[in-house]
Each structure stands twice: as structure tokens, then as C-alpha cells.
Point group: C2
Chain length 144, copies 2
């Protein structure tokens, strides 16, 4: 590495990067076979923030509009989202998650949580506490 080993922040950043990326890799491998990462993310957005236009989803997920058109199309074909016309603006479309979509989303989350819970089970209380604090800090960092 190029950074000085005596800089504690740089050292922590490197260790944390490795831990986070390795764990995320294992977490992602627990996803449902018939739900891509992009579809999962779009569903999570719709579940967390309610119905949205495809352009909004594309912007939030950092993908192109045609790509989101395709993602939404796949999800609609599978019955996981529903498209409805915008009440006042005829150009826009409103995409909403369906009950079936929530089930698919939650199933993947349950699988990931189950894997992670298995790994956590049996850890000493002080390690669990450190992870609990880290979880909240990581979420704060990522949303900044």
C-alpha cells in the first residue's frame, strides 16, 4: 500500500474495506436465484420509499433510463411490481411494489439474514456489541 502504516485512519479504512467487501460478497451470494441484484435493489427502493417513476428509480440506482425500463419490465412480467399512469402528468408512469414483490424481497432478505445470523451465533457479547455499533455507523457513512 502507498499510505503510511502509521496513519491509524488509513489503516482502519483499509481493514474495514476488506471486511465489508468480503462480507458483502458472501451476503450477495445468498440471494434468490430468480431475482438479480438490480431487481432486488429496485424492489427495496419501492418498498422503502413507496411508488416512484422509472426515472426516479434510475437516478437513485445510478443506472440509465432504458436499463430501468427493462428492470421494471422484468419485475412487472413476474408480477412483483405494477405500472399505473400518473394522475396528472400523462408522460409519467408510477411503479409500485406488489404484495408478491414484497414477499420476493423479504425472502431474499431472510436468506441473507439467516446466513449472517448463523455466523453471528456464538460470538462473545463484546463482539456482538462492536458489530451492533458498527452496523449503525456504516449505515450513516454510506448515506452521507
Amino acid at each position: 500500500m502507498s499510505t503510511s502504516p502509521t496513519d491509524p485512519i488509513a489503516d482502519l479504512a483499509s481493514r474495514l474495506r476488506r471486511g465489508v467487501l468480503m462480507t458483502s460478497r458472501r451476503l450477495r451470494s445468498q440471494r434468490s436465484a430468480d431475482l438479480t441484484e438490480g431487481q432486488y435493489s429496485a424492489l427495496a427502493q419501492l418498498d422503502a420509499h413507496g411508488p416512484a417513476a422509472p426515472s426516479d428509480l434510475a437516478a437513485r440506482e445510478c443506472v440509465s433510463a432504458p436499463s430501468m425500463t427493462r428492470t421494471v419490465g422484468c419485475l412487472a412480467d413476474a408480477g412483483l411490481v405494477e405500472r399505473a399512469p400518473h394522475p396528472t402528468d400523462g408522460r409519467q408512469v408510477v411503479v409500485a411494489i406488489t404484495e408478491q414483490g414484497r414477499e420476493a424481497l423479504y425472502a431474499t432478505r431472510r436468506r441473507r439474514d439467516a446466513w449472517l445470523a448463523t455466523q453471528l451465533d456464538g460470538l462473545p457479547p463484546d463482539e456482538l456489541e462492536a458489530l451492533g455499533r458498527a452496523a449503525d455507523i456504516l449505515r450513516r457513512i454510506a448515506t452521507q
Copy 2:
């Protein structure tokens, strides 16, 4: 969620999953434009564990052999790895990272570390300590 909110392990797993996946997403977005995630992973393997056969890399990265052939081909075309014949087994190929490959790998790591260090900078000491402990625990969890 389906799990009981009173189960502390399940609750921690869910919070940690969110924190890890959100952070990993931001970290991945800091990668070099001309190095895919698969190429980055292969380079990291070769850098950490030394020269390896394509089949070994494919198994470790959980991709097919033809896929690794292609990844190694791209890396070789870019001068980031070198292919050499196996000393005793004429069927095998030995792939090794080059100095240029190390530079490309470290450049991406530096970019990710720099982003993360920026986020860490200014956090109170107790939060840094929690993250430091979590980093090691996460790495242990992911490699189990």
C-alpha cells in the same frame, strides 16, 4: 420482516446486512473505470496468494472456467498478468500478476481507502474503535 423483533441476533443480522451492503455499494462505485469487479477480484487473489492456474482462480472466485479464461485474457492483454506454462504438467497454465497489475490493483484500493478514510475522518474515538473491532470480525465471518 418475519423474524421476531425480540431475537437480538436476528435483529443485529438485519442491521449489519444493511450497513455492510450499503457501504460495499459505495466502495464499489469508487473502482477504476478500466478494471471490472471480476478483474479486480482475480488480481487481488493473485496478489495475495501468488501465481495460480486459471481453474484454481475460477473455483476461488466461483465463476466458470471459460469465464476465467476470458478474465485472464483481458488482464493479459492489458499487461496486468502474465501466463506461463506449468513446469511439469503441459496441460496447465500458471497465471501471475505483473508489476503493472499490482499498480492497477493498488490504485483501486487507494481510491476506495481514500473515500472511506474521508468518511471516517472526524468520527469520535469510540466509534473508530468499534469499527476497528468490527473490521476484523467481519473478515473472520466472511472467510468461514
